[in-house]
Symmetry: C2
Subunit: 343 residues, 2 copies
């Protein structure tokens, strides 16, 4: 392995494996299928670990992600997105449906019709808005849309939602309740009722839900720590950075938004957190600088620091390789196979 220079993304294999096993066990204990969202890790080696631990299949966000994970051996893929079929994308969807068990999100009769015309009959799930107000129909509209999709020729496997409004301090219980109500209230009579984000995944109960689709849990991140979803010892991914400058109570490291990502929700305390310095705050972020404030001693120039990004999905998508560490040393290097797979 070549010498790795900062900034780089390090994944602690032991923490990762614990996170993968623990979510799998928790889903099984509740009688829920686990279909992890692979947009978080974009990495074949991690998908395999999830499937080996009993995941029912993978969730992805784009057709390109589906193609890459299919190439990597995944046989059951859900594109949880209201894909619009351009002619080229329709061709790709057809090719994909021939080699894996493929399911697709729909959130309008118009897109169900367009998919049927351009691609042919597909297995689909109707997307329901449970309070995040992004895509998806209102729960009372789900039955009508399911009927329209069936009329267009599709097989309607069920419904799904993303309770993204659980990404706020203390909002997880309400978001989980909204999710359960939306799925229970919308059920068009089909089988699958799929929900789940990492903040609400632990609160979901069988009955209203049959399946959860958390993504971030494999790595966790500063947002999950600050939401209270996990502790620092469950954070598997950090960016290794070198102190390049310092002044007063601040150190500047060589990891900026081009590796940490620029995500910052309004309630976040900064642009990331330092597991080894829980009281430190990442006060400012440029493309290649993070300004970190320390309450006590400031690290020296040349020191190596570990920064947990706010939103790990953004970080992974910024690098080609994950440096896999265990027991303090590098043990492997994994390619981010689906980096940039936006189409």
């Amino acid at each position: 392995m070549v010498p790795v220079e900062t900034p780089y993304v390090a994944v602690d294999l032991d923490v990762l494996d614990r996170n993968v096993r623990s979510m799998a066990a928790s889903a099984t204990a509740r009688g829920l299928a686990l279909r992890p969202h692979a947009k978080t890790h974009k990495t074949i080696e991690i998908a395999r670990r999830q499937l080996e631990q009993g995941a029912a299949g993978l969730t992805v966000a784009t057709v390109r992600e589906a193609e890459i994970f299919a190439d990597g051996g995944a046989g059951d893929l859900f594109i949880a997105y209201p894909v619009w079929p351009s002619p080229e994308r329709a061709r790709r969807l057809r090719a994909l449906a021939e080699r894996v068990a493929l399911r697709l999100g729909v959130d309008s009769a118009e897109s169900a019709d367009a998919l049927a015309r351009a691609v042919g009959p597909l297995d689909v799930l109707v997307e329901v808005d449970s309070g995040h107000h992004r895509s998806g129909v209102q729960p009372h509209e789900a039955k009508g849309l399911a009927e329209a999709a069936a009329r267009a020729g599709h097989r309607v496997l069920g419904i799904f939602t993303f309770p993204g409004h659980g990404y706020g301090p203390g909002s997880q219980p309400q978001a989980a309740l909204d999710e359960a109500r939306a799925l229970a209230g919308a059920d068009p009579g089909a089988g699958v009722r799929s929900g789940g984000s990492t903040p609400t995944a632990g609160l979901a109960g069988a009955g209203p839900l049959t399946e959860i689709r958390p993504g971030v849990y494999v790595f966790n991140d500063a947002q999950q720590v600050e939401l209270g979803t996990c502790d620092f010892d469950a954070v598997a991914l950090t960016v290794a950075a070198t102190v390049v400058s310092r002044t007063g109570n601040r150190a500047i490291v060589d990891a900026g938004s081009k590796i940490l990502g620029a995500d910052r929700l309004a309630w976040a305390t900064g642009f990331g957190r330092l597991p080894d310095f829980p009281e430190a705050r990442v006060a400012a972020l440029s493309e290649h600088h993070a300004t970190i404030e320390f309450p006590d001693a400031v690290p020296a120039r040349g020191d190596l620091l570990r920064v947990a990004p706010n939103h790990v999905c953004a970080t992974v998508n910024l690098v080609d390789e994950l440096v896999v560490v265990s027991g303090g040393g590098q043990v492997d290097q994994w390619r981010v196979a689906a980096r940039g797979a936006n189409t």
Copy 2:
């Protein structure tokens, strides 16, 4: 050329060339050297256009960017960053200094000493803080640092600053004034006084400054439009996106933070702007969804929209290729050679 699917990054060649020529002419007219920051475009073809139009050299943020632009034919490179020399990075800096005219930023006697020990004598510029409060010494400390760097064996070519506090509504005149004062006040007697960001580049005058280093101007972006630095007709780069969902006055497109970037300064009206719909606002952003509010008619599912990102440097770093368009059609495809070049 293969069919391009949304979301993709489109660069209007005519607008790009106009931006490149116009900044070059403006710098020349003021007697200023232009050393554009190549971290914005990370693309050999665009660097060549800047150098052909009279740029004195290129600015980069990392050693890896310098290596890539050197491979692409650039012969004069300024790493405007307080690089800390790990052994491997020192080896790379030595190799680079042997094949191009290389200059490096320093902002402490400690880093000047470390560079001298690990790499050997270099051409350096002392970084001065003109009000952005990130890295750099205070103006009155510049002379002492220049002397320390010279004692360590380096050739001190001058001083530089980044007036990043010009990224606020109405703050450009003050930031440009701060920049001029800091550079004039800090001058350690050497030649180069280098400043300039895109918001302040047009306000910089010869005398206090000898050189400007704007980056964003080649493309411009929603931030520059909202700061008043440029109009929509000077925005050369947009993300092409397809409407995949709609409800009420909102359309959802398939370009999210994984292609637009998540940058959003506090004063921004949203997560990007639509040059063809100046009244529309990008109200929310997920990884693969942008929620766009329209005051009047909402585009239909399947429609293609152009979104100017808030911060174009982030966008370019998220893709492998720029789709080059002119007169409404694709004319070329350029590789983002330095994408992810963080080390």
